[in-house]
Symmetry: C2
C-alpha cells in the first residue's frame, strides 16, 4: 500500500520529501491548469524557471514562447502570463514554452531534486489518477499555495485527488493534512466555484477580472494530458 | 475590526508575525492544556524553555517543579511530563514550574519576541474568548502542530476559537487557513473525541495509553485561567 501525503505549503516540503514518492505539484489558480492547457494545445515542452531573468533569456528565440506571471499579472515584455483561457488565442502548436509564475514553478523546482514530478489540476484529475495508480508509488501532493503560505484551492484539489486515489486499494493515507483536505473537498465538491468565492486568492485576484479563468480551472476532467518533468522540462506523458 | 489569522504550523510563523497581534499558542494535546491545568492547580508561574538542559538547571531547587516531555513521554529525571491529568497527583500550589515540550513551548518561544503571548486550549476556550474581546487587537492563532508540521487537533481548536470570536463584531477573518479551520471545527464539534480518533497524533500516542488525557483535553470550558506570558513566565491573568 502506498501512502498519500498532502504537503500544505512548499515551506513544509523538507518534512515530506522522502526521495521515493512521486510529487504532484498543484497550483490550481492558475499555473498547473495553464501547464495542462498549454500541453493540450500542442506545446512540445514547458521549462519551469524560478526567475523572470531566466525566462527572458529565451525572448528572441523563435522556437520558444515565454510566459511569466507575478502577483496575478503578465510581466511586461512577455508574450503570455498564466491565464489558460488566453493560451488558446496564441499559436502554441509545436512551440517550446518557458514559464515562470509566483508560486507554481517554484514548487516544481523545489521538488525536482529528489523526486519524479508531475503536475495536477482539476482539468486532468481523472487522467492523473490513472497514471498514479499505474505508477504504484507513494505520493506527495505538494500544494504551491501563495508565497509559501496555505491556500484553499490547492488543498481542495489535494482532497479531490485523494478521494479518487483511495478508490483503488493500492493507496491509503494516515496524516492529518490528507484527512483535512479530504473533508474540505467533500464540503466543497458540489459547487467549487461558490465555495471558493470568499477565498483569499479569489479576493486577491478579483480586480484582475479572471472569473472566466477561475471557472475554467475548476472544470473537471477536460484533458487527458499528464505533465511530467523530464530533463527539467514538462512534457505530456504518453 | 480585528483580523483573526490562523498560522497552521510554527514553520509559517514568519509570514504571520506582524508585531501587533496577540498570539494565541495552541498545543491542545497536551502542552497548552497542561499549562492551563497547572495554573488552575495553583502553580504560581510556568517558565517555558526550549531545551531539556535549560529545564535541568532548576532540578535541585525546592521552589521549582520541572516538567519535560519529548515524543509524548516524561523525560527521565523529571518530576512531570505534559500529562494534565497527572498534575493533580502532585503538590503544585505555590510552586514555580519549568516546562519543556516537543512542540508547545517552542511555539511560545518563537512568538514571544514581538508579540503578547497567551495560550489556548479547549479547557479555557470561553474565558480566553472574553479576554481577547477585551484586548480588542488582531489575533494570530499559532498551532504548535507536531515537529513543525500540521496537526488536526490544534486546527480544530483554532476553528473553535474563531467561531467564538466572530460572534463579536470586533473580529473578522479573511484568510484561507482561518476559513478552513472553521469548516473543520463545524464538522468535528459534535464529537471531537471520535473525530480525532484516526488523527496522526492520536495514533502516534496510542501506545502510551493517554486516552484519559485526550478526553480531558477535549473538554470545553473547565477553567477560567488565561495563561499570559510576562517576563518569560506564563502566569494566570487576572
Amino acid at each position: 500500500m502506498n501512502n498519500i501525503k498532502v504537503c500544505l505549503t512548499p515551506s513544509l516540503f523538507p518534512i515530506y520529501s522522502d526521495r521515493t514518492s512521486v510529487v504532484v505539484v498543484v497550483d490550481v489558480l492558475r499555473a498547473t491548469s495553464a501547464i495542462c492547457t498549454a500541453l493540450e494545445l500542442g506545446v512540445e515542452s514547458i521549462m519551469p524557471v524560478s526567475t523572470i531573468e531566466e525566462a527572458l533569456d529565451y525572448k528572441d528565440n523563435d522556437e520558444y514562447v515565454i510566459a511569466a506571471e507575478r502577483n496575478g499579472k503578465i510581466v511586461r515584455g512577455f508574450d503570455l502570463g498564466n491565464s489558460p483561457t488566453e493560451y488558446s488565442n496564441h499559436t502554441l502548436l509545436g512551440k517550446k514554452m518557458v514559464l515562470t509564475t509566483t508560486n507554481g514553478t517554484k514548487a516544481i523546482n523545489i521538488a525536482k531534486q529528489d523526486h519524479i514530478v508531475v503536475t495536477g489540476s482539476f482539468l486532468n484529475l481523472k487522467a492523473l489518477t490513472s497514471f498514479l495508480v499505474e505508477m504504484d508509488k507513494g505520493i506527495i501532493i505538494l500544494c504551491a499555495g501563495w508565497k509559501n503560505d496555505y491556500c484553499l484551492e490547492d488543498t481542495l484539489f489535494a482532497g479531490a485527488l485523494t478521494k479518487e486515489l483511495i478508490k483503488n486499494d493500492k493507496f491509503y493515507y494516515d496524516n492529518d493534512s490528507t484527512a483535512s483536505s479530504l473533508i474540505l473537498y467533500h464540503k466543497a465538491k458540489d459547487n467549487l466555484f461558490n465555495f471558493l468565492k470568499d477565498s483569499q486568492h479569489r479576493k486577491r485576484l478579483a480586480h484582475l477580472g479572471i472569473e472566466k479563468d477561475v471557472r475554467y480551472c475548476l472544470e473537471l476532467n477536460k484533458s487527458e494530458v499528464i505533465p511530467i518533468l523530464i530533463d527539467n522540462k514538462l512534457i505530456s506523458h504518453s
